[in-house]
């Protein structure tokens, strides 16, 4: 087996668009019932190296493309920092593209997005947690609900670039309206404010059903209403849009552990007047329904895959490709969405593991040009909504969570800053 991997089609963009102070990363974490033993965790990390060859890699630069070099040793587990998703620098990525962190009862894994997507990351986390529990308590959980048998050899299909298989023959036009970007006082030291809202799955689902939408569409509609509310004083001609990543495994099948996700943008035009939540729910759900179909997705994948297959592009030196990809990312990617809502859906674990794992979390980092993002995961009947930002102002979080509260969905909030970043004068201003 060769000791390096090509980047998958979606991953091509991430090394190219990373900046000196920003890289595209996400984090998955599991909170256990007991304090983490770092020695045991290190053993678990070591034991998974052969099973996840596409994860235990570092990023290297070729003349024409970036590539992933397999690691000879596992990364060292580290204690967690004061904020999630601290910038992954170029030297760090050259050594390893993921971090395993622990803090009290929590195991967290932060991935550079070129390795895998949220679902692949969750599979790794679940298997790592299973390996940890197995070392700690001497039982081996069954390989189900995303937990892999870490003693088995990796399957070829887990390492494949599924985009190449799923691409259709016709490429879809990428033309779209630009979207509003929320402003704020940016933190320049790289600190991310994380606000975690925990809501009941049952209550959230019930509300979503009242509006005939899925949970993702409902949250997107509430978020759109929040954005429109925050941006109502702006004389903008841009749309308010939410970027929703879609797990393509559900549409095309497959069990790849690499990136296999594509985003769709849903939104409304503020110029047309004010929108009620019902209108927003209808708009979001209908846009999702029309965009998330096998045919549409295959055509959109084709639009991404085709340029990478062109001979002229392939023989272009990497530094030129990087400039082109940066422009594409800026004008076709980030300018088309106000923020992401990435919902991993309901996560389950093998029954033996359930008593030991209290929470699962999924956090996506902020984007290069917009400063808020939202990620959601459901486990044990609790929906954890992680809102991350790298600006001082917390209006978006406050507006969003209090909106849910007013709809009769109780919210419990936690943060990584203890609420200390805001001053009382700000509250007076809001009231």
């Amino acid at each position: 087996m060769q000791d390096w991997l090509r980047l998958d089609n979606a991953a091509l963009i991430f090394p190219a668009v990373r900046k000196t102070g920003w890289s595209n990363a996400f984090r998955v974490s599991a909170t256990l019932a007991e304090k983490i033993d770092p020695v045991c965790l290190q053993q678990a990390v070591d034991s998974l190296r052969e099973r996840f060859p596409s994860v235990y890699v570092c990023l290297h630069r070729g003349f024409f493309w970036y590539y992933l070099q397999k690691l000879k040793t596992s990364p060292k587990v580290r204690e967690d920092a004061a904020c999630p998703l601290i910038h992954m620098t170029k030297p760090e990525l050259r050594e390893c593209c993921f971090r395993v962190l622990y803090y009290k009862n929590r195991i967290a894994v932060e991935f550079f997005h070129a390795l895998t997507d949220g679902n692949g990351g969750m599979v790794y986390l679940k298997t790592l947690t299973a390996a940890y529990l197995s070392l700690r308590y001497g039982f081996k959980p069954q390989a189900q609900y995303g937990v892999l048998d870490w003693m088995a050899a990796p399957e070829e299909s887990e390492l494949e670039d599924s985009f190449l298989k799923a691409a259709g023959r016709i490429a879809l036009d990428r033309k779209e309206e630009n979207s509003i970007h929320l402003k704020g006082t940016r933190r320049k030291d790289g600190f991310h404010y994380l606000t975690v809202g925990t809501v009941s799955e049952e209550k959230l689902k019930a509300r979503a059903q009242e509006y005939n939408t899925s949970v993702t569409a409902f949250l997107a509609a509430v978020m759109l209403q929040t954005i429109l509310d925050l941006a109502k004083h702006k004389k903008t001609r841009k749309w308010a849009k939410i970027t929703i990543p879609v797990d393509l495994r559900r549409l095309f099948g497959g069990n790849t552990l690499r990136n296999f996700v594509l985003t769709v943008n849903v939104g409304v035009d503020p110029k047309l007047g004010e929108y009620s939540l019902e209108e927003l729910c209808k708009a979001v759900q209908s846009q999702m329904n029309s965009q998330i179909t096998e045919k549409q997705m295959a055509a959109r994948i084709a639009a991404n895959v085709k340029p990478a297959r062109m001979m002229l592009v392939r023989i272009m030196p990497l530094f030129i490709k990087n400039i082109a990809l940066k422009l594409v990312y800026h004008f076709v990617g980030e300018s088309k969405g106000t923020l992401n809502i990435s919902n991993l859906g309901r996560s389950e674990l093998p029954p033996e593991m359930v008593p030991y794992v209290e929470n699962l979390d999924f956090i996506i980092g902020t984007q290069a040009t917009y400063f808020h993002n939202c990620s959601v995961v459901t486990y044990k009947g609790k929906v954890r909504i992680n809102l991350i930002r790298n600006v001082e102002e917390s209006e978006l979080e406050r507006n969003f969570f209090t909106r849910l509260l007013k709809m009769g969905i109780p919210v419990k909030v936690e943060s990584n800053f203890g609420g200390g970043s805001l001053c009382i004068a700000q509250i007076a201003e809001w009231n």
Partner: protein, 229 residues
């Protein structure tokens, strides 16, 4: 505990509401004593940008060396490549030199930039056999260097009075226009004050506008609100 302001339930580790900042306190309830979601003490990652200045230094060095070599091989003397070398040196002082200093002083950099431009002009004058440096290029470059350094120093060290600073800059630029034409007239024996009156008048009017904005507070506040926020 719940936030009295937002109504959300607060996690055990929250000393104040993450959404509105209200301190979590109730006289009849124990203080929030849970541990935080993340450890305290944030240490920002230090990013090394050394490669940028090295890259540009290398680029400038290669460009200068190549030009000198080609010129010498063709004409066995340093002719046009001297101009290229001096231009590259000036460009290097202007663009790359500040990158070598973590906390550089802009006043020092701008003074050096002025000096570099003066040297380039002196070289051009000597190389082309002109007689315009002392009476034309030197005073004009020095004048704009002084204006730039003074405005920068005032902007850095005197935080207040932005309108007065802009008024002063406008008046200085207005005056400089006439001086440019004056130096041109005595060096190249042209008619005096043909074109400079127009930009002088426009910049003078702009200076008066900023001055009024500084003196009349409501007008200044309105401008701040409309233009700077």
């Amino acid at each position: 505990m719940y936030c009295a302001n937002c109504g959300v339930e607060l996690g055990e580790g929250e000393k104040s509401c993450p959404l509105c900042g209200l301190v979590a306190y109730h006289p009849d309830m124990p203080k929030q004593s849970g541990e935080g979601l993340y450890p305290d003490g944030f240490a920002p990652i230090k990013v090394k940008r050394g490669y940028v200045k090295l890259f540009f230094s290398f680029f400038f060095g290669i460009a200068a060396g190549t030009c000198l070599l080609i010129d010498y091989l063709i004409s066995h003397r340093i002719g046009w490549s001297g101009i290229v070398l001096m231009s590259l040196l000036t460009g290097y002082v202007l663009l790359v030199l500040p990158l070598w200093f973590k906390k550089g002083n802009w006043i020092v950099f701008l003074s050096l930039d002025t000096l570099a431009v003066e040297l380039l002009l002196l070289y051009l004058n000597l190389h082309l056999g002109g007689h315009w440096f002392l009476s034309y290029a030197f005073p004009i470059a020095a004048m704009y260097g002084i204006i730039l350094v003074t405005v920068t120093a005032l902007a850095i060290y005197v935080r207040r009075g932005v309108f007065y600073l802009m008024a002063g800059s406008s008046f200085a630029l207005a005056g400089s226009m006439m001086l440019v034409e004056f130096f041109g007239a005595i060096t190249f024996e042209r008619r005096m004050f043909v074109w400079s009156l127009y930009p002088t008048a426009a910049l003078g009017a702009l200076g008066i506008f900023w001055l009024l904005a500084g003196i009349i507070k409501p007008f200044g506040n309105m401008l701040r609100k409309r233009m700077f926020v």
